[in-house]
């Protein structure tokens, strides 16, 4: 029993290190990708290809002088970034990084914890994340910070609804709130993205909005609000805010990959598993296959992180009324329609086929009624 506890403790530490390490190197990738897209060199001074840049940045943040404005609420000013970081880290607990490891005849899942409400846990913790921003922005006693914080709060709650309804349509198909079960049902290439492409698109858009990434970065739009909610922050407190943003990006990429792209599942995985166990023995072969699965999962996560950065340099920022219209007038109704279609298709004998039939009927009705309406209006 204590042996399992030790392994679990090690896994928790590894997951912490992994999510923090990936978040640190996301800042490097962000700058490299930005440099590539804008056709310039990018970071190349710290180490070969600038690979030590994240460490240099962290070092700089540690040594910076930090001052708390006299008019700021001192306690809340410090708690704000702490909450942002804590909530970002907490949600990584339930990400299923891989299948099981076979050690001394015991199958140990590669996951911080496999609670049966995994996805609800992530959803709840992500909703709490807005408190970090709101508290920090309010405590600064700065007008820009306050506006940034309010914008962040109302944007996050608006997109959370569409995200939640899309989540429901995934749960309807799998019938479980455990992320491991959801992933397990997408064995091979039986991924959810093929069953609900519209849900996938809504979920990716909402994740962009939840992470406050461009084109939804109104909380920190630097040409209106200086730096938004972290205008007054410096030193490691600013570091915690920036870091939590990158951890959030990693986690939402991981959640998208596990809900819609089958996490560690890849086509031909059964063949690889039986081949490896046949050649290298039951225990080592099984573990090697699991490691392969983890690598596939990390590849998928990095693909989504790349998409996040790609979008940043492709789309301009929205205006606030456009942002709200999109959340309430497009995402919400579309996700409700998606939920109804998915639920109806789930009862039919061929869910995959009926999903697309449902979507086609909806598209026909929507565009048909719009054409009829436009024709009527032009006749008047």
């Amino acid at each position: 029993m204590e042996f399992i506890l030790l392994i679990k403790g090690l896994i928790i530490l590894t997951i912490f290190a992994l999510s923090l390490g990936i978040a640190a190197y996301e800042t490097y990738f962000e700058r490299v990708i930005a440099a590539y897209i804008q056709d310039r060199v990018g970071p190349d001074r710290a180490g070969p290809f600038g690979i030590l840049q994240p460490l240099a940045d962290a070092g700089k943040l540690f040594f910076k002088e930090d001052f708390i404005p006299t008019l700021a609420d001192k306690g809340l000013f410090i708690i704000g970034p702490g909450i942002a970081m804590l909530t970002a880290l907490m949600s990584s607990a339930v990400i299923p990084f891989g299948d099981t490891l076979l050690i001394k005849g015991q199958y140990i899942p590669v996951q911080g914890m496999d609670v049966n409400i995994g996805i609800l846990w992530v959803f709840g913790i992500v909703s709490l994340g807005v408190y970090g921003i709101l508290i920090g922005g309010w405590a600064s006693n700065n007008k820009y910070s306050l506006y940034g914080a309010i914008r962040a709060a109302s944007q996050n709650i608006s997109y959370e609804l569409a995200m939640g309804i899309t989540l429901l349509s995934v749960i309807v198909v799998t019938g479980s709130l455990s992320i491991r079960t959801i992933v397990g049902l997408q064995h091979g290439i039986d991924w959810n993205i093929f069953y609900q492409p519209v849900g996938f698109l809504i979920f990716v858009t909402c994740s962009l909005a939840e992470c406050n990434r461009t084109p939804f970065d109104l909380p920190e739009s630097e040409n209106e609000l200086v730096a938004g909610y972290h205008t007054e922050y410096g030193s490691m407190k600013l570091g915690l805010y920036l870091f939590s943003e990158y951890v959030n990006m990693f986690i939402s990429s991981a959640i998208i990959a596990s809900l819609f792209l089958g996490a560690y599942n890849y086509p031909g995985m059964d063949f690889v598993h039986s081949f490896l166990t046949g050649k290298l023995g039951e225990s080592f072969g099984h573990n090697l296959a699991t490691v392969l699965g983890i690598l596939v999962y990390i590849l998928k996560i990095f693909f989504f992180i790349f998409v996040f950065m790609w979008v940043r340099w492709t789309l301009p920022r929205f205006k606030y009324d456009q942002l709200m219209n999109m959340a309430w007038k497009w995402m919400m109704p579309l996700s409700i329609v998606n939920l109804i279609i998915v639920a109806a298709a789930e009862l039919s004998p061929y869910p995959l086929l009926f999903n697309y039939i449902g979507l086609a009927i909806f598209a026909f009705l929507y565009f048909g009624s719009r054409t009829v309406y436009n024709n009527k209006k032009s006749k008047l």
Binding site: E65, P69, M90, N141, E232, G239, Y320, L347
Partner: protein, 154 residues
């Protein structure tokens, strides 16, 4: 035996420890030489005018209110979603289960959608749009003067 939720606590403690550690290290390493100029609230280089805890746009409250309504309904839909596709229940009741659960959900989602339509129709979802309006401002400077200046210094 530590239950799965024991690890939640472990995670939370580890996370708090990490945040405190990072802030503590930064506190030891960094210099601290505050002065009134540094500690002033930033306002684009101007002197700070009053407090920032002022009343803000009422729209944000309305958005929050609508959100609460929908979020509660969303939470109520979660248990339904996790049992709706249950094959065992479906086979036991020869499909009656699906019809009942489906109709029930449909009514619920219909009410949800109706709420959205109501808020939409009432204009609670409309953000104030920036509009360009024509003014009848008459400039005392005649247009020819600008033209002359442009030509003179061209």
């Amino acid at each position: 035996m530590v239950s799965q939720f024991g690890f939640v606590l472990l995670f939370m403690i580890a996370g708090i420890f990490l945040v405190l550690l990072v802030l503590g290290i930064a506190r030891i390493l960094r210099p601290s030489r505050p002065n009134p100029e540094k500690n002033a609230i930033y306002e684009s280089g101007e002197e700070t005018e009053g407090t920032a805890h002022v009343s803000f746009n009422l729209r944000f409250y309305i958005v929050a209110l609508i959100f609460i309504l929908f979020d509660v309904e969303l939470v109520l839909l979660f248990p339904w979603a996790s049992v709706f596709g249950d094959k065992a229940l479906f086979d036991d009741t020869k499909g009656v289960w699906a019809i009942y659960a489906g109709i029930e959900m449909f009514i619920f989602v219909f009410v949800l959608a109706l709420g959205l339509v109501y808020a939409w129709k009432k204009g609670h979802l409309d953000w104030i749009k920036p509009s360009q309006e024509e003014t009848n401002f008459k400039s005392p400077v005649p247009k020819e003067l600008y033209k002359d200046i442009n030509e003179k210094y061209a």
